[in-house]
């Protein structure tokens, strides 16, 4: 735990919504549009925070607690993630388990808040969310296992500080497989195409968006901000694997990291522009595919 890690943590908390802005700009560019301003996600949050709230008569405290607990879980999870080439605010042996389970806590409360409305739409979204999460979880853990085996470490910060250009030289194929698997999980966990479509407002085609259909005002702001942080946290892990360059100079590492994150956002935007959302019945195959890639990577590491 050091001061610079804290600085990165705070900067991440502030900048996280921008990543969405980059994705949206990319998609707009691809479609030949001008697109919303880069800061639009931040404007949305400010607008929502200034609104009042309307609650369904069906709901209980669970509905109100959902966004708060989810946001708390993801902010805590972000302290475990290495940012800008530096160790996370908290790092210890096994923090990758805590990281995955904090995401689980976030999901659980989003799901029960959705069920609290008694709405069929939200039940449907919640049902899909838990199904895909149950399939994504083993893939994520096997992916972590590969990284742990490769670097003989059980801490996210250590793992990602050990991975370097030389590691890529030695076991490039395994790392590439893991990186792809984690990128698929990054898309799935963050409700992006090809798993979920963040743009459509047709309830029946959505997963994450439909779960938060009844949330409004500050509650929705909490949820959107939490989603942005999740995008940032998982994105940081993928970026650190794909771009293992560290100079040891604070501002240089920061620039490299930012460039990596923007690159990841652009790739995500491109994926969303060139692909359609998969049929829901095909999503499990995609997630299992990510799992198989992680297992294959493990075999490569062992060889």
């Amino acid at each position: 735990m050091d001061a610079l890690s804290f600085v990165y943590w705070v900067i991440s908390l502030v900048l996280a919504p921008l990543l969405l802005g980059v994705i949206n700009k990319t998609k707009a560019f691809w479609a030949g549009r001008l697109g919303p301003p880069l800061l639009q996600p931040a404007y949305d949050l400010i607008k929502l925070l200034r609104k009042g709230a309307v609650y369904s008569k069906t709901t209980t405290f669970v509905f109100r607690a959902g966004p708060v607990v989810s946001l708390a879980a993801i902010v805590m999870a972000l302290t475990l993630v290495p940012l800008g080439g530096r160790a996370g605010l908290l790092s210890f042996q096994g923090d990758l388990v805590l990281f995955a389970y904090l995401l689980g806590l976030m999901r659980f409360f989003t799901v029960i808040a959705a069920l609290d409305t008694g709405s069929s739409f939200e039940g449907m979204g919640a049902s899909r969310e838990v199904q895909f999460a149950a399939l994504a979880e083993p893939a994520l853990f096997v992916g972590f296992a590969v990284l742990a085996q490769e670097t003989t470490s059980l801490s996210l910060s250590q793992i990602l500080s050990v991975i370097s250009i030389e590691t890529w030289g030695q076991s490039g194929p395994a790392l590439a497989l893991v990186a792809v698997a984690l990128f698929i999980l990054f898309l799935a966990e963050n409700a992006r195409i090809p798993v979920d479509d963040p743009n459509t407002h047709l309830e029946l085609t959505m997963i994450h968006e439909v779960m938060v259909l009844d949330h409004g005002g500050p509650d929705l702001a909490f949820i959107l901000y939490g989603a942005a942080l999740k995008l940032w946290a998982l994105g940081a892990i993928v970026t650190h694997i794909m771009l293992p360059v560290r100079t040891g100079i604070f501002w240089a590492d920061g620039m490299i990291f930012s460039a990596g994150m923007i690159g990841l956002a652009i790739v995500t935007g491109v994926v969303e522009s060139v692909m359609a959302r998969l049929r829901l019945t095909h999503v499990p195959q995609l997630l299992l595919g990510a799992g198989v890639m992680a297992v294959a990577a493990l075999v490569l590491v062992w060889r």
Binding site: R50, K51, G52, A53, V54, Y55, S56, K57, T58, T60, V62, A65, L71, A72, V75, M76, L80, L90, F92, Q93, G94, D95, V97, L98, Y101, L102, G104, L105, R107, F108, V111, L115, D116, G118, S119, S120, E122, G123, M124, A126, S127, V130, Q131, A133, A134, L135, E137, P138, L140, F141, V142, A145, Q149, S153, L154, P218, F222, L280, V295, W302
Partner: protein, 657 residues
């Protein structure tokens, strides 16, 4: 030791008194419930003291039974298992005092209290026993007492059926234990545990397999678990809580105790435990997902959690035999701590389900809904239990699962290569179990407690008396406390871990201290602080703004009804469809017909696949085989006398010849 026997005496005395007071339901309940609470409190204090002081104390009295001796001992392992037994049983007894009132007038209440006391006393004596005969007697008393408790409502056909299944299953398990003790005793020449010596590797292997089957039947390893989903829902809820939280743990206790006496484990023991644990865990949670009876669902989660415990023990055993102390300590720590954790949150969940059953008269998930508003205590505590059992931070379930993960990761990294494959299996299985358990409890909590009441029964929901609310709150609080005091609890567990891993306490406590427990606690506190901060922030931004109420968004449909809500079956349908070949759910569908359809019907039932595919054929074959000899039985007394005479004659001839 004398005090501990005194606590057991309190159980026996108040149990018999309750039986004698059977005529007056009020007095029977008062004595039954009060006696159990006093006895448990006394026992709990003694167990905690024994655990903290760390010294083993024993008592050996002669007994006129051949090979038997009244040899009891309280060491750290016994004391640790006494904590869930006394802690949970005391709270369950208090709860039972409020719960059994429903039956007053309809049934004699002295009898169930008598058997409840007998069950608690036999479980406690079981973990203290250090002699094979004494152990088996306690084992049998425990099985019979719980059988009578399971078949309490014996006017219901399904309850009798469940009791029968349980009785058969438990005795099949006991048969293996009988052989286990005979074999171990033959090697040692005595049935006292301290005389047992590690024999040849063949004997050790046979003993281990016998222990896995015999104790595994009680614990509920797949496919020996078939009695669990029958017996737990049939019993009164406080008994279900005791059976699931404490009684099946005696199976784990037996297995762990056996590991300490049968000698150094070869690698494959650990692999077997890991395989059994993974299968039990994954299949347990999959079948839980398909259930629509709340208590049956919880019973399948017991199978899942026993699987998690077995995974932990398996990692520990592999660590011991591979000579990796850290792996061994972490695996056993996770497995043994999960015993306590499961007792807390499963006890809590069964009691919560009991409260719902008590006030609505149904445990059918599809018939409930919106219960949280009417039963806030039960609802909030059930939510705590649900978060804990899913292994989510910042509650206790996460701590034990974290240790097992850490052990598996450490084992994988240190072994590497094909040797490490079982550890990757542990990691994958735990992750899959975690994801599916979260799905299952989102369903159980979400459909039962949230939304709108689906039937008239759900409208009837109301909170129970204080005797019902206090145990729920106490268990929920202890789920939190165990998580926050985890480093402290781990330091108390050092003697146990040192006994299981044959490492010096110093080495063990170094491995434990090297563990990142304080970070877990810090992160847990951090989550709570952030939640508080978020709640305050939310209140601040909402102050002086309009906060109004409306209906849930309904697509502009004019007349939404409660029946239009998503159901439990539809919630889990994507997952159950994915694993349909495993679940083999039976469906009965009547499709809507014509232009103006009236009635349509969908019934699903997911019977246990092990029961249908493994045990039913086996028992069928046994019955067919034995029915060939049915001609021997005519029901005529003369013939039977003839059989006896003939047998005697044959024996006489054999003796003479």
């Amino acid at each position: 030791m004398a005090l501990l026997l005194g606590a057991l005496g309190v159980f026996v005395v108040s149990g018999v008194t309750a039986l004698c007071l059977s005529r007056s339901p009020r007095w029977a309940t008062l004595v039954g419930s009060g006696g159990a609470v006093v006895g448990s409190a006394l026992g709990l204090v003694i167990a905690l003291m024994a655990l903290f002081t760390g010294g083993a104390e024993s008592l050996r009295l002669d007994w006129s039974v051949s090979y038997g001796s009244f040899f009891i001992e309280i060491d750290a392992l016994s004391a640790f298992f006494l904590i869930p037994i006394f802690g949970l049983c005391g709270l369950a007894a208090l709860y039972g005092g409020g719960y059994m009132g429903v039956y007053s007038g309809r049934r004699a209440l002295g009898t169930p209290w008598f058997f409840f006391h007998l069950l608690v006393a036999s479980m406690a004596l079981l973990v203290l026993a250090r002699n094979g005969v004494l152990f088996l007697i306690c084992w049998e008393v425990m099985a019979l007492a719980s059988f009578f408790l399971v078949s309490f409502e014996d006017d219901r056909e399904e309850v009798r059926q469940a009791g029968w299944t349980y009785l058969v299953a438990t005795h099949l398990g006991t048969a293996f234990l009988l052989v286990f003790f005979l074999l171990a005793g033959r090697e040692a020449g005595s049935l006292d545990f301290d005389k047992f010596r590690p024999g040849s590797s063949v004997t050790a292997n046979v003993l281990f397999l016998l222990a896995v089957i015999g104790f595994g039947t009680k614990a509920g390893f797949w496919p020996l678990h078939v009695w669990l989903p029958e017996a737990h829902p049939a019993a009164p809820s406080h008994v279900s809580a005791v059976m699931s939280g404490a009684m099946i743990k005696t199976g784990i206790y037996g297995l762990v105790r056996a590991l300490t006496v049968v000698g150094a484990p070869p690698l494959w023991w650990g692999w077997l435990l890991i395989a059994l644990g993974g299968i039990s865990g994954v299949l347990g949670v999959l079948f839980a997902l398909a259930q629509h009876d709340l208590k049956r669902l919880l019973a399948y989660h017991s199978v899942e959690n026993i699987g998690i415990i077995a995974l932990g023990l398996g990692v520990g055993v592999v660590g011991v035999s591979a000579g990796a102390p850290t792996v061994a300590v972490l695996g056993f720590a996770g497995g043994v701590l999960h015993v306590l954790n499961h007792a807390l949150f499963k006890g809590l969940l069964f009691l919560g389900a009991g409260s719902v059953l008590h006030s609505t008269g149904t445990c059918e998930i599809e018939h409930l809904g919106g219960v949280l508003k009417k039963m806030p205590w039960t609802g909030v505590t059930f939510l705590v239990g649900a978060v804990a059992i899913c292994g989510l931070p910042p509650l206790n379930g996460f701590v034990s699962e974290f240790f097992i993960y850490l052990g598996a990761f450490a084992g994988m990294v240190s072994l590497g290569g094909g040797e490490a494959f079982p550890f990757v299996g542990v990691i994958g299985a735990l992750a899959l179990i975690g994801g599916l358990a979260a799905a299952c409890f989102a369903k159980a909590f979400g459909i039962v407690f949230l939304g709108e009441p689906r039937t008239e029964a759900a409208h009837q929901a109301h909170e129970g008396s204080l005797a019902i609310k206090i145990p729920l709150a106490a268990l929920a609080l202890s789920c939190l406390l165990v998580a926050l005091l985890a480093p402290f609890i781990l330091s108390v567990m050092v003697p146990i871990l040192s006994q299981l891993t044959s490492l010096s306490p110093m080495t063990v406590s170094d491995s434990v201290r090297a563990g990142p427990l304080w970070f877990i606690v810090l992160a847990g506190l951090g989550v709570f602080a952030l939640i508080a901060l978020g709640a305050l922030g939310r209140r601040w931004v909402l102050s002086r703004k309009s906060v109004t109420k409306a209906v849930t968004w309904d697509c502009g449909y004019a007349q939404p009804t409660a029946r239009m809500q998503y159901t439990a079956s539809s919630f889990v349908q994507p997952i159950t469809e994915l694993v349909a070949p495993v679940l083999q759910t039976r469906k009965h569908i009547v499709f809507p017909q014509g232009l103006f359809p009236k009635a349509a019907l969908l019934e699903t039932e997911t019977p246990d696949v092990a029961r249908e595919r493994i045990f039913r054929p086996i028992f069928g074959a046994v019955r067919r085989g034995l029915s060939r000899w049915r001609w021997l039985q005519h029901g005529q007394l003369q013939l039977y006398v003839l059989y006896i005479a003939l047998t005697l004659l044959v024996l006489l001839l054999w003796k003479l010849g």
